[in-house]
């Protein structure tokens, strides 16, 4: 069943990622030849220094497509590796950020930010909110805070002195999701036309208006995961045997769960803040990686990160070239591809039981 060795898969993925990113920069309403893309990349920052020789393609690659593929890659990394962590933590290959309510909480936070952060509501503070929505979008910040509050709340609800109960945690996640859904609906009810449009566009999951600020914010979140997750690989392997078993193997399970839940809330919160709800990436990628190299988290986590990056860059590229010049939100592409896959997974599980 295992087709590849972990290092073989990593090598393949590390070749594929830059290839798909370059493909993403070539594609679009205006096709820019690969050679030119690579050439622009090699002289990044100094291409348009000569004012007399302004090149439109340079502008497209440097200011639009490069930040966009970078953002897609980073968000793909966040979602896929957080998905892999949650599936380990819950000992269930179907666990997903949406299950513990992070997505719903983030969505509610963003809606609140869009409605209450808009100039109409704030009145005299309109200048401030205008400034905020230009640099670090209010929406993004609201989503991040919402996601974080939700996961802390769900975690507190499900944890007592005896440990964390996975069943309670899932149920708490469902309850919080319902509450967040109610907040969303209420805001829809009160929102005016312009707000409604922004709300629904954000919820679809979109990677347009990628800016370097957003890329940097995602980059810091990814950096944090890259620095902190590899240490947890062995503990995640042990916890698959059961929480008591992991304790008997010498791992401090409670502390590890706390670290991982905060880390995934941060990762998922940032991803959702930047690009809205991008569904199923957190399930599909880790599952495919497990099929290829097995469930060992020491290899699963990095491979999922790179795999997620590749898939989201591809999905976003597809979103841009399917019906040009219109852009389908990338979240729709991943949902259309991911939902049948998820149902197939469910059927597989049902047959096993």
């Amino acid at each position: 069943m295992r087709i590849l060795k972990p290092h073989q898969l990593m090598t393949i993925l590390l070749f594929l990622l830059p290839a798909t990113m370059i493909f993403g920069m070539i594609s679009g309403p205006l096709i820019i030849p690969a050679v030119e893309v690579i050439n622009i990349m090699l002289h990044f920052g100094s291409n348009n220094s000569d004012q007399n020789n302004f090149n439109q393609n340079v502008l497209i690659v440097e200011s639009i497509r490069l930040p966009r593929v970078c953002l897609a890659a980073l968000i793909g990394m966040l979602l896929a590796s957080c998905g892999a962590v949650l599936q380990g933590l819950f000992r269930n290959p179907l666990a997903d950020p949406t299950l513990i309510g992070v997505s719903a909480g983030a969505s509610a936070g963003a809606s609140l930010a869009i409605v209450f952060g808009s100039s109409q509501v704030l009145g005299e503070f309109s200048l401030t909110s205008q400034f905020l929505s230009n640099t670090l979008p209010v929406t993004a910040f609201g989503a991040f805070i919402g996601g974080l509050i939700t996961s802390i709340l769900v975690y507190k609800l499900a944890t007592n002195s005896q440990g964390t109960s996975v069943a309670t945690m899932l149920l708490a996640g469902i309850a919080i999701s319902a509450l967040a859904g109610a907040i969303n609906s209420l805001l829809n009810f009160f929102a005016d036309n312009e707000m409604l449009r922004r709300l629904s566009l954000w919820r679809m999951g979109n990677l347009d208006n990628a800016t370097w600020e957003r890329v940097m914010l995602c980059f810091f979140a990814v950096l944090l995961l890259i620095l902190l997750l590899p240490k947890e690989g062995r503990a995640l392997n042990a916890i698959l045997l059961g929480e008591s078993e992991a304790r008997h193997l010498g791992f401090d399970v409670e502390k590890m769960k706390r670290r991982l839940i905060i880390l995934t809330a941060l990762g998922v919160g940032v991803a959702i803040a930047m690009a809205g709800t991008i569904a199923f990436l957190g399930i599909v990628i880790p599952h495919l990686i497990r099929l290829l190299i097995g469930p060992d988290h020491r290899y699963l986590l990095p491979a999922s990160a790179i795999g997620g990056a590749i898939l989201l860059v591809l999905a976003d590229t597809l979103a841009r070239i399917l019906i040009p010049p219109a852009e389908i939100p990338a979240g729709i592409i991943t949902a259309v591809l991911g939902a049948p896959f998820f149902i197939w997974l469910l059927l597989q599980q049902r047959q096993q039981l």
């Binding site: 069943m1 000992r91 269930n92 290959p93 062995r234 392997n237 042990a238 698959l240 045997l241 059961g242 008591s244 078993e245 304790r247 008997h248 193997l249 010498g250 791992f251 401090d252 497990r290 097995g294 469930p295 060992d296 096993q352």
Partner: protein, 260 residues
């Protein structure tokens, strides 16, 4: 090796009204094998969980290698004590070798040494041929043998740092007849490596064959302790289990053999 001092435990809010364990005092000698026995609900698994530190007693303390169990660092405890639970939940597609290798995670003995120990442990439980199979595809008895190999690998030390304890909760529940017999040689082998064994088993005859000592629990108290000869008498069995039996001396081994 490990000692229970005045251990009391109850699950209810009012602790004294629903007592599962009542003032248990027990001392397990290093290098011995002990079976905890008794009827359903006697408190065997609860006591085992208190010994392993999974449950905290409401009263009393556990002394493990001359140190209160609570004062052990998790990783150091894991190097000295391995625990096999009754149920296992692993649903991910690990191979048998990978599962057993997880047992080595408290140690820093290096990959080559670990591989040797994993192979040894797998062969000991007659699961060498399963090494490359996927764990979720195994039968119940095979899974139990693989998990037994995992905890054996965990206490299989390369550098002697102190007495080690292996706690097993019904290790042979899903074993067939041949593998129940194999449990006998596994326990003898592991005890000969200076590992103390403490386990729950239900089959009185099986226990008589494989352990040095039997602790008979009933309604949360210790009813009898001693060698199988001392504990497994018609009178004690009638008192604890409430059934009439006949106890023979096995013609070849001389061990007590219970006929119902």
């Amino acid at each position: 090796m490990i000692e229970a001092k005045n251990i009391s435990f109850g699950y209810s809010w009012q602790r004294d009204k629903n007592v599962l364990l009542d003032n248990i005092n027990l001392s397990i000698e290093a290098g011995s094998s002990t079976a905890l026995m008794g009827p359903n609900g006697a408190g065997k698994s609860t006591l085992l969980k208190i010994f392993s530190g999974q449950l905290k007693a409401h009263q009393g303390e556990i002394i493990f290698n001359n140190k209160n169990l609570q004062d052990w660092r998790a990783i150091e405890k894991a190097q000295m004590m391995a625990v096999l639970a009754q149920e296992n939940v692993l649903e991910f597609n690990f191979t048998v070798t990978e599962v057993v290798t997880l047992g080595r995670s408290p140690h820093n003995s290096g990959r080559i040494i670990d591989q040797d120990i994993v192979t040894t442990a797998l062969n000991l439980v007659d699961a060498g041929q399963l090494a490359q199979r996927y764990y979720p595809h195994l039968s119940g008895g095979e899974k139990q043998r693989v998990n037994l190999a995992r905890v054996l690998a965990q206490v299989w030390q390369t550098t002697p740092v102190g007495p080690r304890l292996l706690i097993l909760d019904e290790p042979s529940a899903a074993f067939d007849l041949a593998h129940q017999q194999l449990l006998n040689s596994i326990i003898k082998e592991i005890v000969s490596h200076k590992v103390t064994v403490l386990m729950v088993v239900h089959d009185l005859n099986l226990a008589a064959r494989i352990v040095d000592n039997i602790v008979l629990l009933n309604q949360g108290t210790v009813q009898a302790t001693g060698t199988p000869h001392q504990v497994l008498t018609e009178a004690t069995i009638a008192q604890v289990f409430g059934i009439k039996t006949e106890v023979f001396k096995h013609p070849e081994t001389g061990l007590p053999t219970i006929l119902i």
